[in-house]
């Protein structure tokens, strides 16, 4: 289990009381801005990043990310461009990058070819929200074969037994959905969430990333000690949309 990525996570987790993973939609609002945002985020101390290849049917995404997907596609963003951009950032910045997308993108590209490409471009792995492990056997095998990290999910509705099952197939870390619902909506940081996270903790020894609805320092303070990685998705897109890519650095720094 001691992959270089795990070692990286361990080391970071020793340095910081919580890690940050952020999210961008590739090609949105433009390739230039994307690059600036990645640079700003890395400089601001982000520990991991999700690069979302836009998809026309982003079922699990809320309005902010959904519209970013759409705009990117309208602007003609292709899968190839996304993978090329990914190569550029992995060459330039020294943190782990994950591709996030829906399964059809992988499927049409060819899952094996997709894994090979990820590996060749030095990506760390992938996050595919519409691919439950039962449907993803081939994908999991190929990711494993190419030494990539396929990130799987826990959710508050996942029973303990299923958490164990998912954990058994997981590598790197587990992405814990903070609540029901899609990306971008508010989350209630409550005792329910705390007890859910302790259920997660019991089910796996892997680090836990908590995502959906994290927007500010208070949220992060709440989850410190309960999860290992805080995932910030829609909020940074909102900030870029409203205040420009320059504002992202300040925002990230304000979180910890």
């Amino acid at each position: 289990m001691d992959t270089p990525f795990n070692n990286y996570l361990k080391k970071k987790m020793q340095e910081k009381d919580i890690l940050l993973m952020t999210h961008i939609v590739l090609g949105y609002p433009s390739w230039e801005t994307c690059l600036q945002v990645v640079e700003t985020m890395v400089k601001a101390g982000v520990d991991l990043m999700e690069l979302q290849i836009p998809f026309s049917e982003p079922m699990a995404d809320g309005p902010v990310i959904l519209r970013a997907n759409q705009k990117a596609l309208e602007q003609g963003v292709t899968v190839q461009q996304c993978l090329d951009f990914a190569r550029k950032v992995t060459e330039t910045f020294d943190i782990p990058f994950f591709i996030m997308s829906y399964y059809n993108i992988l499927f049409k590209y060819g899952v094996e070819r997709f894994a090979q490409t990820l590996k060749a471009r030095n990506l760390q792995g992938a996050i595919v929200p519409d691919l439950p492990p039962e449907e993803g056997q081939e994908y999991l095998d190929l990711m494993k074969k190419h030494d990539l990290t396929p990130v799987l999910f826990f959710s508050p509705t996942t029973p303990d037994s299923r958490m164990k099952y998912i954990a058994s197939l997981s590598k790197g870390f587990i992405y814990c959905l903070s609540r029901k619902g899609v990306t971008g909506a508010d989350t209630n940081f409550s005792t329910d969430l705390a007890s859910y996270l302790s259920r997660c903790r019991l089910a796996t020894s892997l680090p836990l990333a908590l995502g959906f609805g994290i927007k500010e320092k208070a949220d992060i303070d709440f989850i410190k000690g309960k999860a290992d990685i805080a995932v910030i998705g829609s909020q940074t897109i909102r900030i870029v949309d409203n205040e420009g890519s320059g504002a992202v650095g300040k925002f990230i720094r304000s979180l910890r």
């Binding site: 998809f55 026309s56 049917e57 982003p58 079922m59 699990a60 995404d61 809320g62 309005p63 959904l66 519209r67 759409q70 596609l73 292709t78 899968v79 829906y102 399964y103 059809n104 993108i105 499927f107 049409k108 590209y109 929200p129 519409d130 691919l131 439950p132 039962e134 449907e135 799987l152 999910f153 826990f154 959710s155 508050p156 509705t157 996942t158 029973p159 299923r162 998912i166 959905l177 029901k180 619902g181 899609v182 909506a185």
Partner: protein, 408 residues
């Protein structure tokens, strides 16, 4: 995840983790219902007292004579309450919702038919109801929006994506992901993640069960061919299922739109433009580009204008058990016109696709061959579209006068 529901390589349940428990619950409830003989009885009871089942099988003597070939019979799903086969599915799922003790239903709708059907079922069963409908469709299909609202449903226009049916489906899933505790998503066709394809075709199979019995009673023999239009595939599977083990040719008819060569169509199986993909929770043939992004589709019939198709149909097609053809918008309008004049029937534009294909074939069959066309719905809901298709000047005048009256 208890069961994934594959048909050959098609189907599955490509769902976010958060929904897995909900699907497991649904699969459970559906399996239990299927194995409980009182459930189907309850279903038949409500379909015969609330809707008008069994629906007739109408001999179309004039059309048969006109084409001079096969004897044509028409299965009259247009006579269902709310005017289409959609009623079969929503009432069935409604009973299931009662069993699951949920209190709210949501649905996507394109043409509005399934939305009206769901809102109707919700009113009948006392469920709260939210309908997602692409904004483009809301604009095109205002009469149905009006009825859904009057029936007590909330209609949410979906502005994202291409603002049509598939986007409404995504949005319904997003609602469900958020409210699965008290909410059931009443998917409108035999698509989506397992158990929807199976469940929807299970409820729709009442069409073929009746039709098979009726034709045997009337004619003492099986039909040579059965024609049904294919949007998501629910009415087609509904009538096909009963004939799967019979020597009967089953013909699905997709939207040929402006013609297959123009690319402006919705033929996922009949054209070469469809390719296998995974979206909206299931694997099937989609109209998508090489990156896997879904394409825009076109049909004069809003209910056929969808990028995916039932995985069960994809599988039957691959097995060679069904034949899939397409009919163009123009062929459909012509078929509709002929059916009106010859039989006094007004098929929905969707259903008229099945008629169009049957008309291409009827004359080449023998006089003792029987064919059945599934009239999945009635066309009077389509008056705005049909009047436009016929380019009717007095209709335009009427609308202009109406509009003028509203401005005063």
């Amino acid at each position: 995840m208890k069961n994934r529901g594959y048909y050959g390589e098609f189907g599955g349940a490509f769902i976010p983790e958060i929904l897995v428990a909900t699907f497991d619950e649904l699969v459970d409830a559906f399996e239990k219902a299927k194995n409980d003989p009182s459930f189907w009885k309850e279903y038949l009871e409500i379909m015969s007292t609330y809707s008008c089942r069994p629906t007739p099988l109408t001999p179309a003597e004039n059309l048969s004579h006109y084409f001079g070939g096969a004897q044509i019979f028409i299965k009259r799903e247009d006579l269902n309450h709310t005017g289409a086969h959609k009623a079969n599915n929503v009432m069935g799922q409604g009973l299931l919702v009662k069993r699951m003790k949920k209190t709210r239903v949501i649905a996507e709708t394109g043409a509005g038919q399934h939305g009206v059907a769901t809102a109707t079922m919700a009113a009948k069963f006392g469920f709260r109801c939210t309908i997602y409908m692409g904004e483009v469709d809301v604009k095109r299909q205002r009469p149905n929006v009006f009825w859904m609202q009057r029936l007590g449903a909330e209609v949410i226009p979906v502005k994202d994506g291409t603002a049509i049916l598939k986007d409404a489906i995504n949005e319904a899933f997003r609602d469900w992901i958020t409210h699965m505790d008290d909410t059931h998503y009443v998917l409108g066709t035999a698509c989506g993640p397992h158990p929807f394809p199976e469940m929807v075709s299970y409820f729709q199979s009442i069409i073929g069960q009746e039709a098979r019995k009726q034709i045997l009673e009337k004619e003492g023999r099986l039909p040579k061919r059965v024609f049904a239009c294919v949007g998501g595939g629910s009415n087609a599977l509904g009538i096909f299922k009963a004939f799967l083990d019979d020597p009967v040719e089953l013909v699905g008819v997709e939207a040929g739109g402006k013609g297959l060569p123009t690319g402006q169509h919705a033929s996922r199986l009949a054209s070469r433009d469809g390719s296998i993909g995974v979206a909206q929770g299931y694997k099937t043939f989609f109209l998508q580009n090489n990156d896997g992004q879904m394409k825009e589709t076109h049909s004069v019939a809003a209910g056929l204008d969808y990028v995916g198709v039932s995985p069960i149909l994809s599988s039957l097609k691959e097995q060679g058990r069904i034949r899939v053809e397409s009919a163009t918008d123009q062929e459909v309008i012509d078929a509709l016109s002929l059916t009106l004049k010859k039989e006094g029937l007004i098929p929905a534009l969707e259903s008229a696709h099945a008629f169009a294909q049957a008309f291409k074939e009827a004359g080449k069959l023998n006089r003792d061959d029987l064919i059945i066309i599934n009239q999945s719905g009635r066309g009077d809901k389509d008056i705005f579209t049909i009047a436009d298709a016929f380019d009717d000047p007095s209709w335009k005048e009427f609308i202009q006068e109406k509009a003028h009256g509203y401005t005063l």
